[in-house]
């Protein structure tokens, strides 16, 4: 049952936003459009990694690539959603620097067959910070009720997922080495739950576009 949740239900939950989002595609902002293409990419990565895991092939190399692209995708999302020029500039610089950091980490610190906890943790901190920046923007920039802004829903999901998974990412290598299979299962199931919540909140964001 636990394996089904972790290997099937949690990755498959990406289908919810992918199915619901196109209904409101005419109302998408550029940020939501960028997010949708990233979700499509994530869906493909989920399928490939599930197939690799089923064939007992180490899928950690995919995570190294995924981390860099995921950061660039969320960076692009907040770059397009932000209005302050300074924030946009900062995010633009991070989008260029982060993939370089990922490459350096893979080459010199954590090779492809190891969990890339260094950059994954840094990514979690940076993306959580970007979502906090968005959620905490000045009240004067609010155009309507909180719940009517799709980016608020995306930011809530992103903040919940990345800050909730922060400890898991930073201790991932220690956990893989030192803990029992059951302990790992509990923690990664919790991570799976956070993934589902994030995708559900993203689905809500695309639904909010309609109104």
């Amino acid at each position: 049952m636990n394996h089904i949740f972790l290997r099937v239900i949690a990755p498959a939950s990406i289908l919810i936003p992918l199915v619901v989002a196109p209904v409101t595609r005419k109302q998408w902002s550029p940020a939501l459009a960028a997010l949708f293409y990233f979700l499509l990419f994530s869906g493909v990565i989920n399928i490939v990694s599930t197939i690799m895991a089923a064939h007992k092939i180490n899928n950690l190399p995919l995570l190294h690539l995924y981390t860099a692209i995921e950061f660039c995708a969320f960076g692009s999302f907040y770059y397009l959603a932000a209005t302050a020029p300074l924030v946009k500039k900062g995010i633009g610089i991070l989008i260029i620097l982060f993939p370089i950091l990922c490459l350096l980490n893979t080459l010199f610190l954590q090779p492809l067959n190891q969990f890339n906890s260094n950059v994954r943790t840094l990514e979690a901190i940076l993306v959580a910070l970007m979502s906090l920046f968005y959620l905490g923007r000045p009240a004067a920039q609010e155009k309507g009720p909180w719940s009517r802004d799709p980016c608020n829903w995306v930011s809530t999901g992103v903040l919940l997922y990345f800050s909730g998974s922060l400890f898991l990412f930073s201790f991932a290598n220690v956990l893989i080495r030192e803990t029992s299979a059951a302990a790992k299962m509990v923690l990664w199931n919790l991570h799976g739950g956070l993934v589902i919540v994030m995708y559900l909140l993203m689905t809500k964001a695309y639904q909010v576009c309609k109104s």
Partner: protein
Amino acid sequence: MQVLNDHIFLPVLYGMAGVILLVVSFIIIHVRNQNILLKQKAAFKEVELAHQKALLHAIIQSQETEQRRIGRDLHDDVGTALSRLRMNMERAAAETQMDAVQLQLYAGSKQIIDKVMMDVRNISHQLSPTVLNLYGFTEALYDLASIINQAGQLTLSISNEAEGLLSQLDPTASLSLYRVIQELLANTQKHSRATQAVLSFVPTGSLLQIHYFDNGQGMPAAAKPHRGMGLQNIESRLGMIQAAYTIEPSEGKGFHMKIQLVPGNEPTP
């Protein structure tokens, strides 16, 4: 099930749970604060709007007072002076033997004085509709129609099926509606090249519907029609008495405006 006795497991689990709890709390507090702020903003806007309405009301009131004063002065002073001038001329004519040229000059002058007296009367009526104060809205409208029809350029016909509702209009609403109709007629005369205008009052329960049609060239069917001073005046006056209006797009088919209001529901000044 294997026992979870790993050293690192529990701190990570607690850490994750703690952060999730913090984030959820932050989101709840943040959303609550945002909603409170939004409500405050809306309340502030409402107060500002009410203030603007009160200002507009005061401006229109003072404008009305001034118009009434000018109208009264025109009627009482200029009108009376012209009447006396006409009487003096008649007396002088009666006591003087005039040749044909002088008689022609006298008749022409009398005609000019009559025209000026008529113009002064019409202007003073427009500025200060005394009939409205004395006999009410419906009579004032028929008086206005007779002035318009006398001029000959436009024929205004009135169809009134809502006398009961019209009698419930308070003085401010009556005056506002009267001014709106005056403005509509002025627009028709100035811009539409219409020969006929129809004003109809239809009751729908407690709702009074006023339809104004003319057979002129109508409004251009642009996405956003140009709102000149006339239309702005109409909007302000109707807004003041909480009446809604719609202009039917009818380029080349005449102009049609529909006004709706509930008599007795107008805000008190």
